[in-house]
């Protein structure tokens, strides 16, 4: 039946809409594979490591270290004129965020809010003093 969910999926399966809702209230949701423990920071329909269908929605750590960063000086229409972005290493996975403040690789950062663009949120991180 086309109205049924694929094997292993439940109404709790993480989607972008649920992920976005969580970012807006200061939480990072991800998925952990129940077969191989692989963790991702953005929702997938199967485990990208083992293709397992049973994925638990988990709360990811909200602190991590900067894996790479750059300050974007020529920005798309609709965005601010200048901002820093970073790939943040959360231990078992990584996530992209905008930076409030100024960071370098290996600096410690924590989730501090979010930006909005065309109806979608992106996480914001700040340096941990």
């Amino acid at each position: 039946m086309s109205s049924e969910l694929p094997d292993g999926w439940t109404d709790d399966t993480l989607t972008h809409a649920k992920w976005a809702e969580a970012v807006r209230v200061g939480t990072l949701l991800g998925q952990r594979c129940r077969s191989c423990d692989h963790v991702v920071a953005t929702p997938k329909s199967v485990c990208v490591d083992c293709t397992g269908r049973e994925l638990s929605t988990i709360e990811l750590p909200t602190t991590g270290t900067v894996y790479s960063e750059t300050t974007i000086e020529v920005t798309p229409v609709g965005q601010d004129d200048r901002y820093q972005v970073a790939i943040v290493d959360l231990g078992e996975t990584r996530v992209l965020g905008q930076i409030s403040g100024d960071v370098e690789i290996d600096d410690e950062v924590s989730l501090s809010g979010h930006v909005e663009y065309e109806g979608m949120p992106g996480p914001t991180f700040s340096p941990v003093e």
Partner: protein, 389 residues
């Protein structure tokens, strides 16, 4: 035996082409390619066309039949490909497969794009169009741009391997020198390290001259079967064409410096052609940013990981060096009209392998490699070509 052979090649100059329509611009590359091959429209079995952005930037879609009608190919099967910056390499790959499968004997393959401000969009607007290849949900809201994508990769490479801003600048200096020898290049002027360092920052570590320009342009090749190629003058053989994809979003790639899809695509191409990286005499790689060239030369196996930057600074990748990289000037100096870049690389390989590259001719090459990357290295096509003995 080749997988398919190029018997005709043509391209426009890259740069600003003003108010020209896409199908008119494509004709300026396609007709010279047909003439170079000495084939008429009646000989062409299909048109495989690449264009990346016109649906978004110009409200212009269904470009295959439009381009076919412009050049007298109405009636032939035609299709349009979009895989970010790897668009026309993708068209080529599919044409090779169709020829190899015996579906077509002669295919016109090419790409066309308009990206300069004269095409109607401002820099912030075109920056947004380019960013459409990044994750809509997890990267665009954060404000990631394509200079930003490659800046993140390059900064990590600098952190892990000690690559320096001088290494990056030397890639730009080299490619501008090569571009100064190429009459089709958008940037014909030579530059110095200081030119790079004094330019405005785009996304650190990239200054303006670390980045390819916005370009208009078109390129085309005539591809034929191995058997049919013998009846042409100077066929150049495609002996390997590999293609792989990598993960999106960038943050979840196991390594952002490896460009794993390029390694996988190169491995396939080397296996098909029964060649290794040591056999490569020169290459055209996807240097959308200086750091991207360094990552590419490592990914296709020319240098060990971490040695790409020093190799550029030591002149090993310059014309006259051990393996010239981007003798055309690359995307950096020749220009990067997105959907035209993949086949433009193959036009350069054809010119070089025929010994017709003029002032930028590589010394008697027998094997050339092209590396065309799309998105955050999430698509890569690697092609190996050899002159027919």
């Amino acid at each position: 035996m080749s997988r398919a052979s190029i018997v005709g090649a043509g391209m426009t100059t890259f740069g600003s082409h003003g108010a020209v329509a896409l199908h008119e611009l494509f004709a300026q590359a396609a007709l010279p390619a047909l003439d170079d091959a000495g084939v008429s429209q009646a000989d062409v079995d299909a048109l495989y066309l690449g264009n990346t952005s016109a649906a978004v930037s110009e409200n212009d879609t269904h470009l295959g039949p439009k381009a076919a009608a412009q050049i007298g190919l109405t009636g032939v099967p035609t299709q349009r490909f979009e895989d970010a910056c790897a668009t026309s390499a993708m068209a080529t790959k599919h044409a090779v497969h169709a020829i190899e499968a015996g579906i077509h004997d002669v295919v016109l393959v090419g790409g066309v794009e308009r990206c300069t401000p004269q095409s109607g969009l401002s820099t912030p607007e075109m920056t947004k169009v380019f960013a459409s290849a990044a994750s809509r949900q997890y990267e665009q809201p954060v404000g990631l741009t394509f200079p930003g994508v490659f800046a993140l990769m390059t900064k990590r490479h600098m952190h892990e391997y000690g690559t320096t801003k001088e290494h990056l600048a030397d890639v730009a200096v080299k490619n501008h020198y090569h571009g100064s020898l190429n009459p089709r290049a958008q940037h014909g002027e030579e530059i110095t390290r200081e030119t790079v360092f004094e330019g405005p920052l785009i996304a650190d570590p990239f200054h303006l001259y670390d980045c390819c320009p916005f370009s208009d342009g078109a390129s085309a090749i005539v591809l034929v079967s191995d058997e049919y190629a013998d009846s042409f003058d100077q066929p150049v053989d495609i002996n390997g064409i590999g293609h792989a994809s990598g993960g999106v979003p960038l943050a979840e790639q196991a390594s952002v410096t490896m460009t794993q899809a390029a390694r996988d695509a190169a491995g396939q191409a080397y296996d098909q052609a029964d060649l290794t990286a040591e056999d490569v005499d020169f290459c055209e790689v996807h240097d959308c940013f200086t750091g991207a060239e360094i990552l590419a030369t490592e990914a296709v196996g020319l240098f060990e990981d971490g040695d790409g930057g020093p190799a550029a600074s030591e002149g090993r990748t310059r014309l006259g060096g051990e393996v010239p990289v981007n003798p055309s000037g690359g995307l950096k100096a020749k220009g990067h009209p997105i959907g035209a870049t993949g086949t433009a690389q193959l036009v350069e390989l054809t010119d070089q392998l025929r010994g017709e590259a003029g002032d930028r001719q590589v010394d008697s090459p027998s094997v050339g490699l092209a590396h065309n990357l799309g998105g955050e290295a999430a698509t890569t096509v690697v092609t190996l070509m050899e002159a027919r003995a």
